[in-house]
Symmetry: C2
Subunit: 160 residues, 2 copies
């Protein structure tokens, strides 16, 4: 079976995985959120092979999460609006990872609100009764980009 081209799939999450569904990509974004802008600094902080780093940065630039801008004699990688908007997703992922993937040592990094010094947490989505929303608490309805298969599978509408 040929490798699926996720970018041609209409599900936006699948498209996002075309850019970010690779073990290094989100760690490159982590470094960008932690203030790294230089190729050499990404390479050193991540301990990543430079050919892989080049490919990941190129894809993040291609999909407009980072931009490559001249800075002095070299270049810097800066977060775009789209890349900056990924920060809450990273925070949600970090919160889950710190809770469920940490070893006995605990967190590697704490993110504090610079204004208050309080640890930053992602507020959980709540249902209408104020309880944490679970998969059982949602109803799935096809959106405008839903495939025929999705429409057959989830026959409801937003109003039905």
């Amino acid at each position: 079976m040929p490798r699926t081209d996720f970018a041609r799939i209409r599900c936006p999450v699948a498209r996002a995985m075309e850019v970010l569904g690779e073990r290094w990509s989100i760690l490159v974004m982590r470094e960008a959120f932690y203030g790294t802008t230089r190729f050499d600094d990404f390479a050193r902080h991540l301990g990543i092979a430079t050919n892989i780093l080049s490919a990941r940065l190129a894809k993040l630039v291609e999909h407009d999460l980072l931009e490559r801008v001249p800075e002095g004699a070299r270049h810097a990688y800066r977060l775009t609006e789209k890349g900056g908007a990924f920060f809450p997703v990273f925070l949600a992922l970090k919160g889950w990872s710190d809770r469920w993937m940490a070893g006995p040592e605990g967190q590697a990094m704490c993110l504090l609100d610079a204004g208050t010094g309080e640890e930053v947490v992602c507020p959980p989505p709540l249902d209408s009764a104020g309880r944490p929303l679970t998969p059982e608490g949602i109803r799935l309805v096809p959106g405008p980009a839903a495939s025929e298969a999705m429409r057959r599978r989830f026959p409801g509408t937003a109003h039905g």
Copy 2:
């Protein structure tokens, strides 16, 4: 350079990427959140080669996001507590993807609160002044599992 073993890295986000940093893994979790439990249904809904699906499911079971339980003559894959706790991360990713990765057709699927019919949204993390938190609004301090390199790079402490 040998392939980095992310599971041995102390950063929990990097460990999470060992499990989820692969283009299909989060889509398998999406299907689990959408109610899929059977191998054949995962395969059909995702359009994924069965050998790849087997490997992804095995890894999600190995890391306790799904459990494989007998159901009738076959087996079902059910979300564990740890897997269910990933739902807010998926919602955050879906929200970003729908906003930034959708094609002109828009959303593929809408997730509605089953109680109210309102679309489910992930509340954005806010700073102490109630504004959306950005990478510039955070202060990074090493946690207990921080490497020596991380401590040198971010010399602050939670109290300093």
